[in-house]
C-alpha cells in the first residue's frame, strides 16, 4: 500500500501517491502540464523544461520533481506561460521545421503545444543548421532537421525495446541524436519498435505512410493538446 499525500496546483487539491512525480499526479487529477520530452511509463528526461512549474516558488521540472505533501505548485502563471512559450519558440529556430508540408503536421506535439501557446510566427532568428537525413533503413527514416533532442526514442529503445541504438553526440548547440553503428540501416531497429512511435515530431518516422490521415481527422485538428487530460479530470 502506498501512502497518499495531498498538495495543490494553482489552488486545486491534488492527491498523489508518495514518490509520484508532479506531472503524473497532475495528469491523473485532470491538470495538464505542458511537456514535450515526457512520455508516460518512461523514465523522465528533464530535457525540454516545458513542464517547469513553481514548487513553493522555485522552478522545478514537473516530470522529475516528486510530489510531496503540502507543496504549493503553480502551473499557470503569466511568467511561466511566457518562459515556456520562449522555450518552444527556441525549438522552432534551433532546427529546421516546415510544418506546412511535414508528414507529422496535425499529429505533432511540438506544433500542437505551439498552437496551444498561441505561437504563430518565429520569435527568434532562425539558426538554419545544416542537418542530415538518414534514409538508410528500409522502413524508418531520421530527419535531423526536425529533431528536438527530447531523447524519447533513445530512452524508449533502451527501456522498452531493449536496444541501446540511439544516443547523443557532440555537446551544446551541436548536440545531435546519433545511432550506433553509423547509420539507422545498420541497426536492428524494426518499424514496429516502440521507439519509432515515441517521436513527438517528424524526426523519426515510418516510411510510406505519410499524409495517410486527412486534415480534419488528425490528432490535434479540433482541440488543443492536453484537452483529453483536462476533460478526463473534469467531466462535464
Amino acid at each position: 500500500m502506498s501512502e497518499t499525500i495531498t498538495f495543490t496546483i494553482d489552488g486545486k487539491k491534488i492527491p498523489a501517491k508518495k514518490g509520484q512525480t508532479i506531472i503524473r499526479a497532475a495528469e491523473e487529477a485532470g491538470v495538464y502540464i505542458p511537456r514535450l520530452c515526457w512520455l508516460k511509463d518512461l523514465i523522465p528526461g528533464g530535457a525540454c523544461r516545458v513542464c517547469t512549474v513553481l514548487v513553493n516558488g522555485r522552478p522545478q521540472a514537473a516530470c522529475t520533481q516528486p510530489a510531496a505533501g503540502g507543496i504549493v505548485v503553480q502551473n499557470e502563471t503569466e511568467e511561466l506561460f511566457r518562459w515556456r512559450k520562449n522555450i518552444v519558440a527556441m525549438l522552432f529556430v534551433e532546427g529546421n521545421h516546415y510544418c506546412m508540408f511535414c508528414e507529422k503536421s496535425g499529429n505533432c506535439e511540438l506544433q500542437a503545444v505551439a498552437y496551444r501557446f498561441g505561437i504563430t510566427a518565429p520569435k527568434y532568428p532562425h539558426q538554419f543548421p545544416q542537418r542530415a537525413v538518414d534514409a538508410s533503413h528500409p522502413d524508418v527514416l531520421i530527419d535531423h532537421n526536425r529533431c528536438i533532442l527530447c531523447w524519447r526514442c533513445a530512452r524508449t529503445a533502451r527501456v522498452k525495446d531493449g536496444k541501446p541504438i540511439f544516443g547523443v553526440v557532440n555537446r551544446g548547440i551541436d548536440s545531435q541524436l546519433a545511432v550506433g553503428p553509423e547509420q539507422l540501416g545498420e541497426t536492428e531497429l524494426k518499424a514496429t519498435d516502440k521507439a519509432v512511435e515515441a517521436c513527438p515530431v517528424g524526426a523519426l518516422m515510418k516510411k510510406r505512410v505519410g499524409y495517410a490521415v486527412p486534415v480534419g481527422k488528425r490528432l490535434y485538428d479540433h482541440e488543443p493538446i492536453g484537452s483529453d487530460i483536462e476533460k478526463a479530470g473534469n467531466p462535464a
Partner: protein, 586 residues
Amino acid sequence: MNLQQVVPEAAARCGRDPSRVMDVVREVQARLGRVSDEAIDLIARELAVPPVDVKGVVTFYAFLSRKQKGRTVIRLSECVGCLGAEGHASAEELQRQLGIKFGETTPDGAISLEHTACIGMCDQGPAALVDEQPIARLTPERVKDLVAAVREQKLAEAGFAVADNVHKKGEVVFAEMEPGAGLKHALALDPAGVIGEVKASRLRGRGGAGFPAGTKWEFCARAAGERKVVLCNADEGEPGTFKDREILKHVPAHVFEGMAIAGYAIGAKEGILYLRGEYAYMLPALEKTLDEMREKGVLGKGLGGGKHDFDIRVQLGAGAYVCGEESALISSCEGGRGVPKDRPPFPVERGYLGLPTVVNNVETFATVARILEKGAGWFASFGTRDSTGTKLFSVSGDCAKPGIYELPYGLTVRELMALVGGEGAQAVLVGGPSGSFVKPEDFDRKIGYEALATGGSVMVFGPRRDLLEVVSGFMRFFVDESCGHCVPCRVGNVLIKERLDKIRAGHGVAEDLGYLEELCATVKRMSRCGLGQTSPNPVVTTLASFRGLYERRLTESNGLQPDFDLNAALQAAVKAQGRAPVFHED
C-alpha cells in the same frame, strides 16, 4: 602501435570496467592521436558498452577527437582573461610560426593548433597547453621559442615553468601542518562527532554554491547503503579560478587528508579526486603524494592504526567545464558524457554508481583537515558570521599583483583591490562569469555569502577594457560549454550571444535590451543545472550595473524589422556588383 593492441591494453588496465570508458578513450587518444570510429567499436566491444555511448563520450570532451591530431597538440586559451592584446598577437604569431590556422594540423602531422577554454593560468596569461604541459606568459617573442622547442622536442628545458604567484598565505589552507594531525583528531572522535565539528565550524562549500559542508556529510552519513563514496571536485574551470591549482601543488596532502576525514565521518572507504584534464600535468606529483600518505598510514588500510580503511584514486577529465557541476562530475566519473543528473535524488543519497556520495571542492577538503586539527571554534573566529574562515581568492586581470590571496571572508572589494593593485578598475567580476560584475560605486560591498558570493574568482577590468567584448567572450564560453541536454541553456545562450553581438556591432535598437532581459530570465529560470541557471549573468549583471555601455551602442530604429541587418544581408550583392547600394528616401 595499432588499435588491436592499444584498445585491449587500455581496457585491461581498468579491468574492462564499463564505468571506466573515460580512461580507455583517454589512453587511446594519447597513444594514437585520435579515437577513430573503428576504435570506438573496439572499445565498445571490450567494455561491453553500446557503441553509440562511446561515440557520445568521444564527441563530448574537448580533448578527445575522432579525427587525427598531430603528435603534439598546442591549445591556446581563448578565455577572456588570457586574450588581451598579447593574447591576440600571440595567437597570430602561433599561426605564422606553424604555418597553419587554428583547428589545423601541420602537413607533416607533427603539430595541431587549437583553441581551448580557460586552463587556470589566468594570473599569467596568455597561456597555452602543449599536450599536458602548461605554458604561461606568452608573447609573440616567446611563441617563437615555444614553437622551436616543440619542434626540437626540448620543451622541458625551454624555461616555460608556471609561476606560483601565491601572494598571501593565510592560517587555514596554506599554513604548515603535521601530516595526519587533522585525521588523528578526527579518529579520536566518533563519526558523528566529526560531523558535529564540521557543522560547528559553519564551513560552507568552497566551490561557489556555499552549501554547508557538515550538513551535506550528515545527509550522506544517514543515507542507506553500506558502500559510500567521497568525491573531490578538482575540476575548477570557472574563468578566473586557479586556486585549486596552487592547493594541489603546495598542500595536496591536506586535501587528501580532508577526504579521509570525510570518509571516516560518512562511512566511506573509497575516495575519488576528479582532476580536470587541463591539470593532467599534476598527476605524477599527486600520485607520489598518495603513495607517501599510504606509507605513513594516513591512507589505506586501518587509518591511523584504527579500523577504518580509506583510499583514493585520481580520475582525469578531458576538457569540459560543465563537469565542475557536481552531478555532471559524477556522470563523468562514471565514464559517461558530463551531463548533469536530475535531482532529486541528490548525490548524498544516490551519487557515483548510485551510491551515497559526498562531493566537495578541493579547498573545502583542505579546510576540513585544518578544522579537525585546530577546532571549529578557532576556524569560526575568522571571517564573518555567515561566511566563516579564510577563502582563497584567485585574482587576475588588470592589476599589479595577480595571483592567490588567502584572506578572511568579509573584506570589501575596495580592500581587495588595494591589496592587489587594482584600484583604477572600471569593474570587478566577483565569482567568475557566473557571478556579478561590480561597479566602482559598489566596491564597499563585502565578499562573502551574505553579499558577493564567490568560489574564488576575482577578475579586474581596467578602464581601457571593452566590457561588452568581455561579456561576449564569456557568453561564447557558455555556448561552448553547455552540455546541450536542456533546451533553454542549449539554445538560449546562443540567442543571447547573437543579440549581444548585434548590439556590439552597432545594429541594436532599444527593444533589444528588453529582448535580452526576457531571454536571460528564461534561461536562468528554466535551465536544468547551475550552468544554465547562471550563464546569462554576464549580461544580466552588466545590464543592471553598466546599462550605459549598451545604450551608447544602440541605433535609432528605422521602422524595419529591428533584428534584420540590411547591410549584412546585402554584402554578397555588394561584393558581386563592386558597388554600395543606393537607398532612395521617401
